[in-house]
C-alpha cells in the first residue's frame, strides 16, 4: 500500500484544499506544503526500503480495475522509476515552497498543483499501460491551467500550444497502446516487455514510432520542441520548475519503461534516428540558447540541449549510455528546476528577464550569485557536479555505436559553456547597473528551496553511485532484454 | 383500363408540374388538389377504394383547406414581395433530373412479378389488420396527432414577445 499511500498524499491534500474556503490562504498553503512534504517523506521512505540489487519490481500493488479489458491498477517501482519518483516528490515540495509568488486564486492554484503531482507520480508509478496513459494525461490539464492563469507574457498562447502539442503526441501513443492491446490482450507493462521479442518487426517499428511521437513531444525532441520555450517562459516559476524538472522526464521515462523493452527490435531499428535526433537536440538547442536574450528562454533551450543527452544515451544501448541517460534525467531535473527557481527569484525582484538589462549583480547579491554560478556550472557539465557524470556516461555509452553523432554532440558541451558563461557574465559580472543598486539578496525561504537541490547536485557529482546503484540493475536488465537475452522478471 | 390509368397519370403529372412551377401559390395549391385527386383515382384503379376515400377526405378536405387558409393568412406578406417565384431553377432541375434518371434506370432494369399476383386487399382485411396487428401504430399516430395539434396551436397562437429585428 506504500505506493497508493504516496499517491494519496497529494490527492487527499487536493480534496482538503477544495473543501477549504478560498479566503483561508494560509491554511491552504499549509495543507499544500504538508501534502507535498508527506509525499517527499513517503518517497524517501521508499528509498530507504528499496533493495537496489533486486531485479523484480518492488512495492508492487495490483488491483483489478476494468476486468473486461484486462486493465489493472498496477503500481510498483524499480530502479528506473524510483529516481523519477524521488525527483518528482522533491521538486514538487521545493516548488511548493517557492509558490509564495502566487498571489491570486491560491485555492485553485494549490488544488491544481497537487493534482499535477498526483499525475506526475502516477505516471512514474504505473505499471499498466492504460493507467500510465491516464496519469500521463492527467498531468496536462493542471499544467495547462497553471500556465494560462498564473503565467506571464503570452500565457494563453503558450498554454494552448503546450496543451495541443502534448495531446497530439499522446493521441499517437493512445493508438499505439490500443494496437498493442489488440495484439497481446494485455496492458501489463512487465508482461508486454516479456513478450517484446515475439512481436513481428513491422509491428514493432510502427508502434515504436507512434510511442516515439508521444514521448518525443514531451521530451521534447527536435523538431517537436517549439512548445517548450513558450511554455517554459510563460509559466509561473513553480510551473516552469515542474515542467522542465519533471514533465520532460515523463517522455524520457517512457522510452525506458515502454518503448525500448516492449519493442526491442523496433528500438534498435530506430537507433540511428534516435542518435541523430539526440545530436541535433544537443547542438541545435545549445546554439539557439546562445542567441537568447531572455534568461528563461535561454534556460528553456538549454533544456532542449540537455535532454538530447538522454536520447543519445538511450540510442547507445549500453549500460553506460543508459545509466547516463537516466542520470541525466534526474540531474537535469534538479539543475533546471533550480535554474528556473533562480530565474524566478531574479524576476520577482527585477520584473525583467532580459539579460542585457542586468550586469554586475555579483556585488549586490552575493548569495544569489553563488547559487547562480553553482547551477550554471552544473548545467554546463562541470565535473564534480551531477551534470557531468550524466553527460559523460551518455557520451561514452553512445560513442561506440554512434561515433560521429557523439563526436558532434561533444561540441554541444563547448557551446553549453559559452551560453552559461554568457549568463553569468551578463547578470553577475561587469560594472553594476545602477538600476539594480537596491536589489535585495535572496530570502531565507528562497535559500531553503534551493539548498537541497544544490546538495543533491553536489552529492551526485561527487559520488554518483548514490543514484547509479539504484538504477543500474534495472537498466542492465532492460538492456540485456533489448539486446536479445531472455527476460527474467 | 389502360386509358383510365393513362388519363389519371397525365392529370397527376400535369398537376404536379403546375404545383412546382406556377407563380401564383394559390393556383399551385389548387393544382395540388388536382394531383391528390389523380392519385386518389389511381388508388381506386388499384382497388384501394378506402384509401382513395381517405385521400380525398383528409388531403383534399382537410390539408388543402388548411393550406389555402394559411396562404390567405400570409397573403399580405408575399403579395408585397416583387422577387421571383423560384430560385436556383437550373441546378435544381439538374439535380431532380439526375435523381429521376438514376431511379428510372434502376427500376427499368428490373422485372416485376405478373400483375396482379395476388388478390386485392379487401376492406375487411384492412380493418382487421388495423384493429389487431397495427394497434400500436394507431396508438402512436394518435399521440402524434395530439402533439402536433397542441404544439401547433401553442406556437401559432402565442404572440411574439417583442417586435422582430428588421
Amino acid at each position: 500500500m506504500a505506493l497508493t499511500a504516496l499517491l494519496a498524499c497529494p490527492l487527499v491534500g487536493m480534496l482538503l484544499i477544495l473543501a477549504l474556503p478560498k479566503t483561508a490562504v494560509k491554511a491552504i498553503r499549509s495543507v499544500a506544503l504538508l501534502a507535498t512534504g508527506a509525499a517527499l517523506l513517503g518517497s524517501l521512505q521508499l528509498l530507504a526500503f528499496f533493495q537496489p540489487g533486486r531485479t523484480q519490481v518492488q512495492f508492487q500493488e495490483k488491483l483489478s480495475w476494468i476486468p473486461q479489458l484486462n486493465i489493472f491498477y498496477t503500481v510498483g517501482v524499480d530502479g528506473i522509476s524510483l529516481p523519477m519518483v524521488l525527483l518528482t516528490a522533491l521538486l514538487s515540495f521545493l516548488a511548493c515552497i517557492a509558490s509564495t509568488s502566487i498571489t491570486e486564486r491560491q485555492k485553485e492554484y494549490y488544488a491544481l498543483y497537487l493534482l499535477l503531482e498526483v499525475g506526475m507520480l502516477g505516471t512514474f508509478l504505473a505499471l499498466d499501460l492504460f493507467l500510465f496513459y491516464v496519469f500521463w494525461e492527467v498531468v496536462l490539464v493542471p499544467m495547462y491551467l497553471m500556465i494560462g492563469i498564473w503565467g506571464g507574457g503570452r500565457r494563453e498562447y503558450s498554454a494552448f500550444k503546450f496543451f495541443v502539442y502534448t495531446l497530439a503526441g499522446s493521441l499517437a501513443m493512445l493508438l499505439a497502446i490500443l494496437a498493442l492491446y489488440l495484439r497481446t490482450r494485455s496492458f501489463d507493462m512487465v508482461h508486454l516487455a516479456a513478450m517484446g521479442h515475439t512481436l513481428d518487426l513491422g509491428f514493432q517499428q510502427l508502434l515504436f514510432v507512434a510511442f516515439f511521437l508521444g514521448f518525443a513531444i514531451k521530451v521534447p525532441v527536435f523538431p517537436f520542441h517549439t512548445w517548450l520555450p513558450d511554455a517554459h517562459v510563460d509559466a509561473p516559476t513553480p510551473g516552469s520548475v515542474l515542467l522542465a524538472g519533471v514533465l520532460l522526464k515523463m517522455g524520457g521515462y517512457g522510452f525506458f519503461r515502454i518503448a525500448y523493452p516492449i519493442f526491442p527490435e523496433g528500438a534498435q531499428w530506430f537507433g540511428g534516428t534516435m542518435a541523430l535526433l539526440g545530436m541535433i537536440n544537443i547542438v541545435y538547442g545549445a546554439f539557439v540558447a546562445m542567441a537568447q536574450t531572455d534568461f528563461k528562454r535561454l534556460v528553456a533551450y538549454s533544456s532542449v540541449s540537455h535532454m538530447g543527452f538522454v536520447l543519445l544515451g538511450l540510442a547507445g544501448l549500453t549500460a553506460e549510455g543508459w545509466n547516463g541517460a537516466m542520470f541525466q534525467m534526474f540531474s537535469h531535473g534538479v539543475i533546471t528546476g533550480a535554474m528556473f527557481l533562480l530565474v524566478g527569484v531574479l524576476y520577482d525582484r527585477a520584473h525583467t528577464r532580459n539579460l542585457e538589462e542586468f550586469g554586475g549583480l555579483g556585488v549586490r547579491v552575493p548569495v544569489y550569485a553563488a547559487f547562480l554560478i553553482f547551477f550554471s556550472l552544473a548545467s554546463l557539465g562541470l565535473p564534480g557536479l551531477s551534470g557531468f557524470v550524466a553527460e559523460f556516461l551518455a557520451l561514452i555509452g553512445a560513442y561506440g555505436r554512434w561515433t560521429w553523432q557523439t563526436t558532434v554532440s561533444v561540441l554541444g558541451v563547448v557551446v553549453a559553456a559559452a551560453y552559461m558563461l554568457k549568463v553569468i557574465r551578463q547578470v553577475l559580472l561587469g560594472p553594476l547597473n545602477t538600476r539594480w543598486a537596491a536589489l535585495p539578496d535572496m530570502t531565507g525561504r528562497e535559500v531553503i528551496s534551493l539548498a537541497p537541490l544544490l546538495l543533491v547536485v553536489l552529492a551526485l557529482g561527487v559520488y554518483p553511485l548514490l543514484l547509479l546503484q539504484i538504477q543500474d540493475t534495472a537498466l542492465q536488465q532492460v538492456i540485456a532484454h533489448v539486446l536479445g537475452q531472455p527476460w527474467q522478471r | 383500363m389502360s386509358i383510365a390509368y393513362g388519363l389519371l397519370a397525365v392529370l397527376t403529372l400535369l398537376g404536379a408540374v403546375w404545383v412546382v412551377t406556377l407563380r401564383n401559390l394559390f393556383r399551385a395549391a389548387l393544382s395540388l388538389g388536382l394531383v391528390l385527386l389523380g392519385v386518389a383515382g389511381l388508388f381506386i384503379l388499384l382497388e384501394a377504394e378506402f384509401l382513395a376515400f381517405v385521400q380525398i377526405l383528409v388531403y383534399v378536405g382537410a390539408i388543402l383547406t388548411l393550406v389555402v387558409f394559411a396562404i390567405m393568412l400570409t397573403a399580405k406578406l408575399h403579395a408585397s414581395s416583387a422577387s421571383p417565384a423560384s430560385r436556383q431553377t437550373v441546378p435544381a432541375a439538374a439535380a431532380a433530373l439526375g435523381l429521376f434518371l438514376v431511379l428510372v434506370s434502376t427500376t427499368n432494369a428490373l422485372t416485376w412479378p405478373d400483375y396482379p399476383a395476388a388478390e386485392a386487399v379487401s376492406l375487411a382485411a384492412l380493418g382487421q389488420e388495423l384493429v389487431k396487428t397495427l394497434v400500436l401504430p394507431f396508438e402512436v399516430i394518435s399521440l402524434v396527432f395530439v402533439a402536433a395539434m397542441v404544439g401547433a396551436i401553442a406556437i401559432a397562437a402565442n404572440p411574439p414577445m417583442k417586435p422582430p429585428p428588421s
Binding site: - | 412546382v20 391528390l36 384501394a48 384509401l51 383528409v58 388531403y59 435544381a92 433530373l97 435523381l99 395476388a118
Partner: protein, 99 residues
C-alpha cells in the same frame, strides 16, 4: 403494364417534388412540394400492396396520409409563426442563422 408505368409516375412525382422544394420560395410552396413526395411514396405502397396482396403496405399508405396531415399542420403553424416574428414567408429571406 401498371407496375412499370406507375412506378415511372411515382418517380416523376417524387422528382417533381424535389424540384419544387428546391425552387419554390414561398414556405407554403415548399410544403406543397413535400406533399408531392409523400404522395409518390404512398402511390408506391399502394401499387405494390396490390401487386403483392400485402395488407400492411396499404395500411402504411394510410399512415402516410395521416402523418402528412400532421406534418402540414405543424408546418403551417411554424410558417404562421414565422410570418409574425420574422415578417416573411419566403424560405430564402430567413438567414439570421448561418456560418
Amino acid at each position: 403494364m401498371p407496375v412499370q408505368s406507375l412506378l415511372l409516375l411515382s418517380h416523376a412525382l417524387f422528382c417533381l417534388g424535389i424540384y419544387g422544394i428546391l425552387t419554390r420560395r414561398h414556405a407554403i410552396g415548399l410544403l406543397l412540394s413535400i406533399e408531392l413526395i409523400l404522395n409518390a411514396a404512398a402511390l408506391n405502397f399502394v401499387l405494390f400492396s396490390r401487386a403483392f396482396g400485402h395488407v400492411q403496405a396499404q395500411a402504411f399508405a394510410l399512415f402516410i396520409i395521416a402523418l402528412a396531415a400532421c406534418e402540414a399542420v405543424v408546418g403551417l403553424a411554424i410558417i404562421i409563426r414565422l410570418s409574425r416574428t420574422a415578417k416573411t414567408v419566403f424560405a430564402d429571406h430567413v438567414d439570421l442563422l448561418k456560418g
